[in-house]
């Protein structure tokens, strides 16, 4: 039997990740309309077209720059556990802030599906979303669903299947920064790659180095488990 593919559910708090997780896996993860309902990783399984999938419900996070322990749980999973597909769940009624996280995930990994949830609520408010345009501009599949009403699932499952079987390829369109930043990235990137070949995307790590994400560096150091262990306390000041 082949191993299960792992699909991580990422997204801002309160976008319906747990609801989607429950709907897809039949499991009963508790939901709540407040930021912080899910604080640890939950796993459930799903079968589609003969493939096994493990779905991973993560705590909500506003960005990949984690501020609290629950966000760190989510960040670490997305960044270091390398799921086969990262499903970024967006709130259709608050696309702007939600896309911010999606763009960050796209910088970090390739196989991403953008899942615009709460589409029922958005439509009720008269918000119209052109997912084809977003698909083109982001370079990855964008799918509208309503986790609560179980709408849009066939398309979602189909897309998952087509990514796994390589029938479609994700080519995230990168966010381009100003010249100065881009130049610094290009100088850092090869060194990052040399340092940790199988690590997270080198462009993304370079950006975080420039960002000054201490917590992430600490985590990387731990995971690289290299000789500099004894000096690790010195890095951060």
């Amino acid at each position: 039997m082949n191993n299960a593919y792992r699909i991580a559910l990422a997204g801002n708090p309160n976008t319906g990740k747990s609801t989607l997780f429950n709907a897809l896996t039949g499991l009963r993860q508790h939901t709540g309309n407040w930021a912080g309902k899910t604080v640890s990783v939950a796993q459930g399984s799903l079968q589609h077209k003969g493939n096994h999938y493990d779905l991973i419900d993560l705590p909500g996070t506003y960005s990949l720059f984690s501020n609290s322990a629950d966000e760190t749980v989510a960040r670490n999973y997305i960044v270091f556990e390398k799921p086969d597909i990262t499903l970024v769940v967006l709130d259709a009624t608050s696309m702007e802030r939600n896309l911010n996280l999606a763009l960050q995930v796209l910088e970090m990994t390739k196989n991403v599906i953008i899942c615009i949830n709460l589409i029922d609520a958005a439509e009720k408010q008269g918000i119209k979303i052109n997912e084809h345009l977003l698909t083109r501009q982001l370079g990855v599949p964008v799918i509208k669903v309503s986790a609560r009403n179980k709408l849009g699932f066939p398309k979602l499952l189909d897309t998952i299947d087509r990514i796994i079987t390589r029938a479609i390829e994700c080519n995230p369109v990168p966010t381009i920064y100003d010249e100065e930043i881009e130049e610094k990235i290009s100088r850092l990137e090869p060194k990052v790659k040399e340092l940790w070949k199988d690590g997270p995307s080198s462009r993304w790590v370079s950006l975080r180095l420039l960002d000054g994400d201490e917590d992430l560096m600490r985590e990387m150091e731990k995971r690289m488990g290299r000789e500099e262990n004894d000096e690790s306390s010195r890095v951060m000041d």
Binding site: R28, P59, M95, Q125, N130, L134, Y177, M217
Partner: protein, 457 residues
């Protein structure tokens, strides 16, 4: 080859605050452009959430509504659990006769009957009849409120008070989780960004009575505080007593937070952001089923798993004699003087000690303790229960003190384990045990002293 530190330092030198802002800014700019191109918004704004918030967080109505909601949830739980609880107790009680006959018929020795029926069966069915109904009602009612989006509003309303106690506004969210289960609530403190305030939330969470203690609190207050009333009014008085108790727990929470933030956990309140999501109508059926069935079931199973061995142990201790008293009696006698000081007795303290693994089993253990010595041998219905307690010298003061001790005492074993896992500190885990315990001793000491001084009992 360069190491991570080297790279870090190199990047540090090249970076600046402006550059960091620029990175975030660029992402937002792109988000905005994507939205401008791909999302069409209506002319009219959705004002439903704003309208509701104008009421639920209004300067005049905000706090009364909060109190009312709390009261409503408790009242529904208490009034609703009343009948199923006694039905369950009667049902399980009525099975004891046939069970006994069966054991006699099969020629099973008395001591096995004792362990299995008087110990295991009675202990676990007590847990079920006292704990299950309130849980099965509380969890779904609370889940509806939670899924609708009311909790962040509570945190919004109360933040100022938490801040003046040196704590984090999101502590109210973790406290709300505590009503369900303190062990889970300790995990939920992960949402609090600053370690200091998170520790405050962990150390004080226990002052919110979890579901495992509700059964005890409801039962005692309806037996001893609301005993002169009947029907819906009885539930109302019981609710008021419970609300008073919960409020007292909240006051203690603020007090302890305040003292800690002036001493061992000194520091200024750190930053805080709280999202107020739009109200969303939950899928009522799904939410109710999920929370009442699965959650109650899970919590109950945990309780029964602990109750079973504890019940057997208690029965054995009650039936092994050293001299002319059972082991149980010896222990109870040993604890008795101290218990009396607190307006309790040795059996009550013993029940709390044996109840460390789970609060659900405190009351059943206590009853088994009493039953193993008293003249009564059966605790079928709720009415008989009061007789058993009264026979052991209980007054309303005993009930009050037991409720206070239950509210304030050390967290259950599971919670302590979670505290250790989350804080990774033996010292703080011990503090999480010690602080409530000291308070749980002082408060009943004071009420007992006051009651005696004023001649109330």
């Amino acid at each position: 080859m360069m190491n991570l530190q080297g790279l870090w330092t190199e990047a540090r030198e090249q970076s600046s605050t402006e550059m960091r802002d620029e990175i975030v800014h660029r992402l937002y700019e792109r988000s905005r452009k994507l939205c401008a191109a791909g999302v069409k918004y209506p002319e009219k704004k959705d004002v439903r959430t704003e309208r509701i918030d104008a009421i639920l967080t209004s300067p005049v109505l905000g706090f009364p509504i909060m109190l009312l909601m709390l009261g409503a949830v408790f009242y529904i739980t208490i009034a609703g659990a009343n009948i199923p609880s006694s039905l369950l107790a009667d049902f399980f009680g009525s099975l004891e006769g046939p069970l006994e006959n069966l054991f006699v018929y099969l020629h099973i020795p008395d001591w096995i009957y004792g362990i299995l029926v008087a110990g295991l069966y009675r202990g676990t069915t007590w847990v079920i009849s006292v704990m299950l109904p309130p849980m099965a009602i509380f969890f779904p009612v609370f889940a509806l409120l939670e899924n609708y989006g009311y909790l962040p509003r509570v945190a919004f309303n109360l933040d100022r008070i938490f801040k003046s106690a040196g704590a984090h506004g999101k502590q109210s969210l973790t406290m709300a989780m505590g009503f369900g289960c303190n062990a889970a609530a300790v995990l939920s403190t992960r949402i609090i960004e600053s370690p200091r305030e998170r520790m405050l939330a962990i150390l004080t969470n226990n002052f919110v009575p979890c579901n495992g203690r509700w059964g005890t609190l409801i039962l005692l207050s309806s037996l001893f505080m609301a005993s002169h009333f009947t029907g819906g009014f009885k539930s109302l008085i019981t609710t008021l007593v419970i609300i008073g108790l919960v409020m007292f727990g909240i006051v203690i929470t603020f007090l302890v937070s305040w003292i800690l933030s002036k001493t061992a956990l000194k520091g200024v309140p750190t930053h805080y952001t709280l999202e107020l999501p739009p109200y969303r109508r939950p899928k009522i059926f799904d939410t109710v089923i999920r929370s009442s069935l699965t959650k109650s079931w899970a919590v109950l199973m945990r309780a029964v798993k602990v109750a079973a061995p504890a019940a057997i142990l208690t029965w054995i201790a009650g039936n092994i004699y050293i001299g002319d008293a059972s082991v149980l009696q010896h222990v109870a006698q040993f604890l008795d003087p101290f218990g009396r000081l607190l307006g309790l007795d040795g059996y009550i303290l013993m029940a709390f000690i044996l109840g460390l693994p789970a609060n659900e089993i405190v009351l059943p253990i206590l009853l088994m303790g009493y039953l193993s010595t008293g003249s009564l041998t059966e605790a079928g219905s709720m009415a008989e229960l009061k007789n058993i307690l009264s026979e052991h010298g209980w007054t309303w003061l005993t009930a009050l003190n037991m409720m206070l001790f239950s509210l304030l005492h050390y967290p259950c074993g599971t919670t302590l384990i979670n505290i250790y896992k989350e804080t990774k500190s033996k010292k703080w885990t011990f503090m999480a045990f010690l602080i409530p315990t000291v308070i749980a001793v002082i408060v009943p000491l004071m009420t007992t002293f006051a009651a005696k001084a004023f001649g109330w009992v």
